[in-house]
Amino acid sequence: MSTPGRSSPPDGDAALRAVTGLAARLSGTVVVGIALFVLWQAWPALQAVGPLRFVTDAGWHPLAQPAQFNLLPMLVASVAVTLGAMLLAGPLGLFTAIFMTDYAPPALARLLRGVVELLAGVPSVVYGLWGLVTLVPLLAAWQPPGASLLAGILVLALMILPTMVLASHAAIAGVAAEHRLTVAALGFSCAGSLWGVLLPAARAGLCGALLLSTTRALGETMAMLMVTGNVARMPDSLFAPARTLTANIALELAYAMDRHRAALFVGGLLLTALVLALVRLARGLGCAWRHA
């Protein structure tokens, strides 16, 4: 999202350089440290159970005799709720942001921004509670049990919408003023300037908005735990209950020991790998393009 150019700082900036360098190294070390910790905690299960059984076992019954450790239904559930939520919140967020920057009268834009920021500030447990006592009973009256992939998707879409709107808004509003002036001077229509110039110019920022929203959706725990039903079975429809990888960890970690605990960390490892894959995919799709 930042400008790509990198100039070497003058000598007077040595102190700043040291401080920022230290901060960057610290952040990097923490991230790598967490990944290593998760791997270290998951290792006993990977060794005793073998990586293959985490995708081939009959189900997830870590305390049964013999224990079963299939994480695949939860991986699918995590991907499904994230994908569903992005399909809803992605376009909705982007269009809201475009409306706010280019079409809305300033007063309305300010109001919208305030509402979206408010939405962003609501803690996830509140969304979860709302889902549990309002949305799930509504869905249950229509398609029992109500707690389902669909409930997860709807709550999640609502939760990532503010991230999507605010990040897209920042990206579009950040397009250099000279681009806008040039476009206007060339007599582009509003739609033309939007699709032809502004959005391509904001592309890196928009990719960031998408990536940020997606990873936020993947990582959401509390709200998913409360509305998706948490049944560790492969969901076969939108109305079927499902358990996400994050909910699995939150549900069982406090009560898990030994191999069960390590198996939960394998789920964490899987989630980390999923996020990494996502970042790679975003790069592959051209998100790193800086000059359109």
Binding site: Q68, V136, A141, P145, L251, R261
Partner: protein
Amino acid sequence: MGSDAVSGGRRARPVIAMLLPLLLAGCGDGGKAATGKLMLTGSSTVAPLALEIAKRYEADHPGVRIDVQTGGSSRGITDARSGVADIGMVSRALKPDESDLVAHAIAHDGIAIIVHASNPVTELSADQIRAIYRGQIATWQAVGGPKRPITVVNKAEGRSTLELFLQHFGLANTQIHASVVIGDNEQGIKTVAGNPGAIGYVSVGAAEYAATHEVAIRLLPLDGIPASTVTVKDGRFPLSRPLNLVTRGQPQGLAGDFIAYARSAAVHDRVRSLYFVPLD
């Protein structure tokens, strides 16, 4: 994550231990200045309660340090027998071949089967409950209720409530065909209250509190006995168990004092906060 939370709790203690002598200085209770170490091992159901009681006991007795470790009721029995632990924690009544140990109940744990308040079904037999949880009965019509699918609410793996439920009905968790899996009691109560077709089970204390505070759930009787903290307390309700501290012979000294404290009314608020039923 889990170990951080534990060490956080541990870290808080020295501060309390430093402040308490100041608070207690005027109490004139210096005669009971017990010191020493106690080791408790066993049931993971009893452990959270034992830990809470131990924290409070330590705060009252600055010279005492109490370690609580989990590992299941059988470890509690083994360790109390061998003397590895001063006190074992066991979440069931002692068996006949364990008569070398003495059990001291500190609370009762009971589970209530709950349905939506609007559900006309007033009683289910154990066989019907088994069939419902196995997915063999899928609508309320089959048990004399309305034509509505049953939403089976089960507990997440590792919970003692799940363990007691499975054990009582002779079910294995792999047989259960759940529609919703819940974590804590509150989530279970809200799930059932929001779904007229749901059936679930939660701690009796939590269910009774919710049902008497305008939450749309109803507690089903079991074998003709109403589910309530009263019937759990007097031992009549079948889906319940005592939470015991066990010792080899009658406990002496510090262990005896701690057990007497754990059985006293001073810890009833802690017992209730974990949704167990106090002794009296």
